[in-house]
Symmetry: C2
Subunit: 161 residues, 2 copies
């Protein structure tokens, strides 16, 4: 009755990633609400901590979000002094976005508060496995795609299967 494919090259992580991310996000929402944050805010703060001082468009490219929605997202964070927008002296059209000290502090508090939610969602994994997962996710998200500036390439017609 094993209908699942056994060849590792047939394994697709997409659906599992979607499923697990949803479960994590649902629990994160209730944990973050008292801190005045939403999961999306945490993703932005995390990216800005890893590499701040970038334009809104570069942030949009990294997060793969539409630039128009970055505006509202940063408005939220700026209203609570978690990030700062400064006009770039080199190109006055650009806003240079950076994490404030308060932002770094709030992010740490949020990560601390999320420990329980993460323990619940990743309950089936041992501590060393969770660390492995974290490392894989970190490396995957800091790859060339996520750091590119305005990549947005269309998916090539890869029918190699």
């Amino acid at each position: 009755m094993s209908a699942a494919p056994l060849d590792p090259s047939e394994h697709r992580s997409g659906a599992l990633l979607d499923h697990l991310a949803r479960r994590m996000r649902l629990r994160s929402e209730s944990v973050l609400a008292p801190l005045g944050l939403r999961p999306r805010h945490l993703v932005a703060l995390t990216v800005l901590r890893a590499g701040g001082g970038i334009s809104q468009q570069a942030l949009a490219s990294t997060l793969e979000m539409d630039g128009t929605n970055i505006v509202g997202l940063l408005n939220d964070l700026e209203a609570e002094r978690l990030i700062e927008r400064r006009r770039s002296p080199e190109d006055r059209r650009r806003h240079v976005v950076e994490l404030t000290d308060d932002g770094a502090k709030r992010l740490s508090e949020a990560e601390c508060a999320l420990a329980g939610a993460e323990n619940e969602v990743l309950g089936a994994l041992e501590p060393t496995e969770r660390e492995t997962l974290y490392e894989l996710l970190r490396r995957a998200t800091t790859g060339p795609i996520s750091c590119g500036e305005a990549v947005r390439e269309e998916t090539p017609p890869d029918t190699s299967c």
Copy 2:
């Protein structure tokens, strides 16, 4: 300049998971569209392949989606004969949901078509690392939470940090 926490117990995978899942989903959408599927459909089909013959409510619990949205989701899949709804003889209120042969076939085709998207998103990882990631995701999503029937517990006030 290393502002990131170094203690592994401080590592939180939530934001990275969210970020990576989004990138995967955006690429999956364009790949799945010609097959008449959306990322959400693929998650449901994947869960049903792993363990079909369950009620809509159990499916909702596993996917952690509201039961009302499961209706439309299954309507889509049923319209294309990818799943079947049968009244349970034991409790005629229930619909027993199962993957059809066409559904299993379409799922395989979709997974095949997604190879390119996955290669792009997981480009920073080696093949063995991708297999490790797949295994971790599979085990995490088949844990006691995802298989529970109508768990839906509120997040406990875990302030152990």
